[in-house]
Subunit: 347 residues, 2 copies
Amino acid sequence: MKTLNLALIGFGAVGRGFVDLLQARHAYLETQHNLRLNLIGVATARRGSLFRLDGLTLDALSQAAESGHLNNYPTQPRLIRGLEPLTMLTRPGVDVVIEITPTTYENNAEPAMGHIRAALAAGKHVITANKGPIALAYPDLMAQAAHRDVFLGFEGTVMGGTPVLRLARKGLAGCHISELRGIVNGTTNFILTEMESGKPYADALREAQARGYAEADPTNDVEGFDAAGKLIILAHIIFGKALSMADIDREGITKLTPEDIQSAQANGERWKLIARAALSADGQLSASVRPTRLPLSDPLAGVGGGVNAITYQTDLIGAVTLTGAGAGGKATAYALLSDLIELAEWL
Amino acid sequence: MKTLNLALIGFGAVGRGFVDLLQARHAYLETQHNLRLNLIGVATARRGSLFRLDGLTLDALSQAAESGHLNNYPTQPRLIRGLEPLTMLTRPGVDVVIEITPTTYENNAEPAMGHIRAALAAGKHVITANKGPIALAYPDLMAQAAHRDVFLGFEGTVMGGTPVLRLARKGLAGCHISELRGIVNGTTNFILTEMESGKPYADALREAQARGYAEADPTNDVEGFDAAGKLIILAHIIFGKALSMADIDREGITKLTPEDIQSAQANGERWKLIARAALSADGQLSASVRPTRLPLSDPLAGVGGGVNAITYQTDLIGAVTLTGAGAGGKATAYALLSDLIELAEWL
């Protein structure tokens, strides 16, 4: 039996979903994967921290989380409260740091970036669902992980738990991928699907905001920044190429009119916000995020609402498309678990 | 560097595609996967056999294959000609037996079944693209492989090189799959796609025969036997359940009329031959192959022509659909290579 001691840095919806998953899959992981996962620490910035080398009690932890503060976790022998994230993640006994703090691309993707670097420097395996550090520093973080011979997992950074990165890294090993095209932003895909029933853009956006799919300031989604960030991650992992935001030919969906939508429908086509990266014959990578008219025969044309999909163009087996949920706390919690299973096989 | 010595049993289109792939990916496999693949034997029933522990010369082998008989391979030091398949595959020095003889489900899937059993008994790793042995004897063959602590690879048995089995076994590890639905027969999917343009069944079948997609006796495809065979393999691998042909509620596409097709189109739906297997709450597996009307929003509805796809319904991330080529010599050759890469990681 392999045992891994885990510390969660950050404890929002993904973290709570992950704790539920640890409880539900405990026996399965032991019997099917010979793997025991032992949660020994949870650190948050403002809602307390718990550390116990013998392991935390998961249902008590869930109850404390529901109460709003980890101080409501009961007293146990050898329980340590109040450790700062950076103190906990370097602590002896921690094997894997799971970095799921609230972090954006801004401010150099802090605090996640600093947590990941400190954990790798301390020789800990790291698994994250935070896009910022992977988009901004993937080659550097991978080099740091290789230097310490530890694992860096990041499946949750694109398409939640749908294993689109693992498909390329493992399932298509031995193929050369020359191009990828994807629908990687659920908000814009929902808006475009709404517009197909005749709504103008502004009404469709309001509907998305009313349902909580779009934020009050929707710029990040509708102008294609979110999709471009995921494309930067994909470019690193699939093509080994570093892109910056400025390298991406980016256009959002805000200028699409009901006439554009109808004109496509009349031609048996459909508008989608497509993130695309393609290698040229001389090894240059071109990248774009832009509204694109697809024939209905394209596997991406049928991807509606909040569903995401990526098509990889390969030399040996042609086009391969993976379609699935693009986000969600439970799905992202699964992405963390899937990285832990890969880590256990790698060890 | 890991080195694996390979013997090919059978040398048709897939075998020749595999030799091309070994040449094209030699350097890639060494640098990216630290893996050296050394082809030391090729055995056929009627077109000669070659065995050379130092390795066969791949371009000379391709030329001999094109000439129609392996006797046209040039003389080399320590080259042995004329070994029977069963003699070659148990020979010392062979690490991996790649079983790709022409074999159907009939006659107990011989000769492939006997080759695979003999190779496993001799402690060789086995990789096959032959459906028959996996459909008829998967649990038994896996037990035999486990007993000798060797690897049994079978990715090429369903959807050619599109990694639909590896997705379930590795990419979705930790999820529970409760149902799968797939388009796994390209011939019937081509015929149904043709019928959507108004052709009656008989005309669409003739078109498929003219293009070489359907055989003179199309029963195996159009009555759903081929899809049912693949469903038996999927039931073994995804659900760990043994099905026989009689367990599958099977109906082909021969009774579909142009009126049926039009009626679906008028309702925003499309007919597909769907292979489905689903677990009930009490762990029973029900399985069917039958024409099914799908709404256009279903990811399987957009899968046209010779393309195949499978949707897995999971508990943690909902529906995941993989779409890609269903067959082809080059794609199946890639499936063999992908199994070799998995074997090398497993060792």
